[in-house]
Amino acid sequence: MKTLLVVDDEPEICDFLKLFFEERKYQVRTATSGQEALDMIPKVKPQVVLLDVHMPGMDGLTALKRIKETYSDIKVIMVTALETREKIEEAIRYGADNYITKPLSLEYLEKDVREKVAHLAGEKISQRE
């Protein structure tokens, strides 16, 4: 099962992403803060996390750092309203797998998520061998 964790402080954004990805046979869980996302990861075990950068409490970049420190095999796609050079540099330094800006192009996002999942599957197969 392809599992996706959507983290955004806007519930409406979580909602339509959940709807969209569920229609494409993903299991989708949502969180509205960085801390909530970190708490959920051990239970949900997502392959891909869509992570908003600007959130109250723990922001996306901190959450990204924590996720990558603990679960290096989880793919994280940063989603943000902003694309300042510093933020992008920081995210890439922390190991973000992609960095996309709002408003989202769902087609592009889905393609990207699919690629990440396929990539993960490929890695697992090669690990087993």
């Binding site: 806007e10 409406e12 954004i13 339509f16 992403l17 709807l19 969209f20 229609e23 600007h54 309203a81 902003l82 694309e83 300042t84 050079r85 992008i88 540099e89 890439i92 992609n98 960095y99 996309i100 800006t101 709002k102 408003p103 989202l104 192009s105 769902l106 087609e107 592009y108 393609k111």
Partner: protein, 510 residues
């Protein structure tokens, strides 16, 4: 300024007066001897005409010189005031010196007055120029500007040392050379030659050397005398003071200009920072709702295979997605231009970019009766840049040109390359309404626009991009005479070394 010099007239008159005086003197002696003859018959030979001739000759030989000298003195002092022109000119100079604060103007005034009244070949005012204190000619009489620009003496030059050591005395080349060792004379000669000087008049304020006047040796027929030295001494003092004041004034002015510049830069930076903050705030607050609107519309649209959508509904959904993207682009653009972009750089044919841009706007402009032409210098090398940024430059400049034209008109785009300095040059001219100076000053400010409903970011953004590439942009324009925008992009190695240029993800644009 220059009065007719009356030397010749004076000389004739002087000779005449000397002659008359000699005659009168002779006549007086003769008369008194004649009177004496009555009492002393021994003087009977006085009546002989030969005696008269001898007396006059003797007088002419003995008394001419002293009389001549006497008259010269009298002329100098009382009748014609030989120095009157020089005196007047220098007095006026002293007056003007007090009124002139501009160093260049002051310098010209000084060297020209000196040069003219003393009939000099050359005269130059030499001043220490900050920051290194090198002595340079700031005004020259009888000099080519391009020649005297090349002349400079270090503060350690032998001549400057000599002036410091000897104080405010006029230095005469040949006399100085006789007083020093031949090595020193050699070194000094070099400095004298550089300034084409026979005489150096140092300018002192208290004990500080504020500069010097270098003047050529006087013409052979004109020797400087005691009175000239007196003049030099008197005026070198007031010149020195004025020069010092003017130099300080120009330093102050320079400092004020620099301050103004850095102030306006600071304001510009502050403005940019404010825009960045604003754009960041807007982006955050607006992009989320836009994302929701666009996202939900996309969910519906992507479901159309499963759920049937009325054609008009599908159209509406597409419009929603398109328009939300457009709205988001505004803030993104704002952000992009207040900071560096993450665009990828590649070798571009600017000619191609120009052609694409013209193709993009020419359909619309042809409807409005505006003709866009272009000329491109052959064999322009490719330019390493981000294609979007280059498009932005061309697009903004051409659009700006098109929009300045109200009735049918022309826009001409030129692409040029300077192989010597490795500079790519873009010139966009139009036959539009042109701009006054006060508009030109504001033209590149963010949110400045003369058109109703325009955002006023086009030229601002263009300038930001051009500056990021180390280039320059300027405009030449007059009201009703059209405008010419000139962009110069230099070759730089730094471009393309952006660490993000290869790794930054490209988001799909719908």
């Amino acid at each position: 300024m220059k009065k007719p010099y009356i030397r010749r007239r004076k000389r004739v008159l002087k000779r005449l007066l000397v002659g008359v005086s000699l005659f009168l003197l002779g006549a007086a002696i003769f008369q008194s001897l004649y009177l004496l003859k009555g009492q002393f018959p021994i003087l009977h030979w006085v009546a002989n005409p030969l005696f008269l001739l001898c007396l006059m000759t003797l007088l002419a030989i003995v008394a001419y010189k002293p009389l001549d000298g006497l008259f010269v003195e009298i002329f100098k002092r009382f009748l014609f005031k030989k120095k009157s022109y020089a005196h007047l000119a220098l007095m006026r100079l002293a007056e003007d010196l007090r009124l002139t604060l501009d160093l260049q103007e002051l310098g010209n005034l000084i060297v020209n007055t000196f040069g003219e009244i003393l009939h000099l070949k050359t005269a130059a005012l030499v001043l220490p120029v900050s920051p290194k204190g090198k002595y340079k000619i700031i005004a020259g009489y009888g000099w080519n500007v391009s020649d005297y620009r090349k002349v400079h003496l270090s503060p350690e030059a032998p001549l400057i040392h000599l002036i410091r050591d000897s104080g405010p005395h006029v230095l005469i080349r040949n006399r100085i050379f006789r007083m020093v060792s031949w090595q020193d004379a050699n070194r000094l000669a070099h400095d004298f030659d550089a300034l084409r000087a026979g005489w150096i008049i140092p300018l002192f304020v208290q004990k500080e050397v504020v500069g010097l006047l270098a003047i050529s040796s006087p013409q052979p027929d004109r020797k400087f005398d005691q009175a000239d030295f007196q003049l030099f001494r008197e005026f070198s003092d007031s010149i020195a003071k004025s020069v010092k004041i003017a130099a300080q004034y120009s330093e102050l002015k320079q400092a004020a200009t620099e301050l103004q510049d850095s102030q306006s830069q600071l304001i510009q930076k502050t403005k940019l920072a404010a825009i960045e903050q604003l754009a960041t705030g807007i982006a955050h607050e607006i992009h989320n709702p836009l994302t929701i609107i666009s996202g939900k519309a996309q969910v519906l649209l992507l479901r159309k295979d499963r759920d049937h959508l009325e054609p008009n509904v599908e159209e509406v959904l597409k419009t929603i997605v398109r328009q939300t993207k457009r709205a988001a682009d505004i803030t993104r653009k704002l952000l992009m231009f207040t900071q560096g972009t993450v665009g990828k750089k590649e070798s571009l044919s600017l000619e191609q970019v120009l052609a694409d841009t013209i193709a993009l706007v020419s359909y619309q402009t042809s409807l409005e009766g505006i003709e866009i032409t272009r000329s491109v210098t052959p064999d322009i090398p490719p330019y390493k840049a981000n294609i979007h940024e280059m498009r932005e430059i061309f697009f903004n400049l051409i659009l700006n040109a098109v929009q300045s034209i109200q009735s049918p008109g022309k826009v001409h785009a030129e692409l040029d390359y300077d192989p010597h300095d490795q500079i790519w040059i873009i010139r966009i001219s139009d036959t539009g309404k042109g701009l006054g100076q006060e508009l030109i000053d504001k033209l590149f400010n963010p949110f400045f626009t003369t058109r109703h409903g325009a955002l006023g970011l086009g030229l601002f953004v263009t300038k930001q991009i051009v500056h990021r590439y180390g280039g320059s942009i300027r405009v030449e324009s007059r009201p009703k005479q059209g405008s010419l925008f000139i962009v110069q992009l230099p070759y730089t190695d730094k471009i393309g070394s952006d660490p993000l240029s290869e790794t930054s993800p490209a988001q799909a644009t719908s």
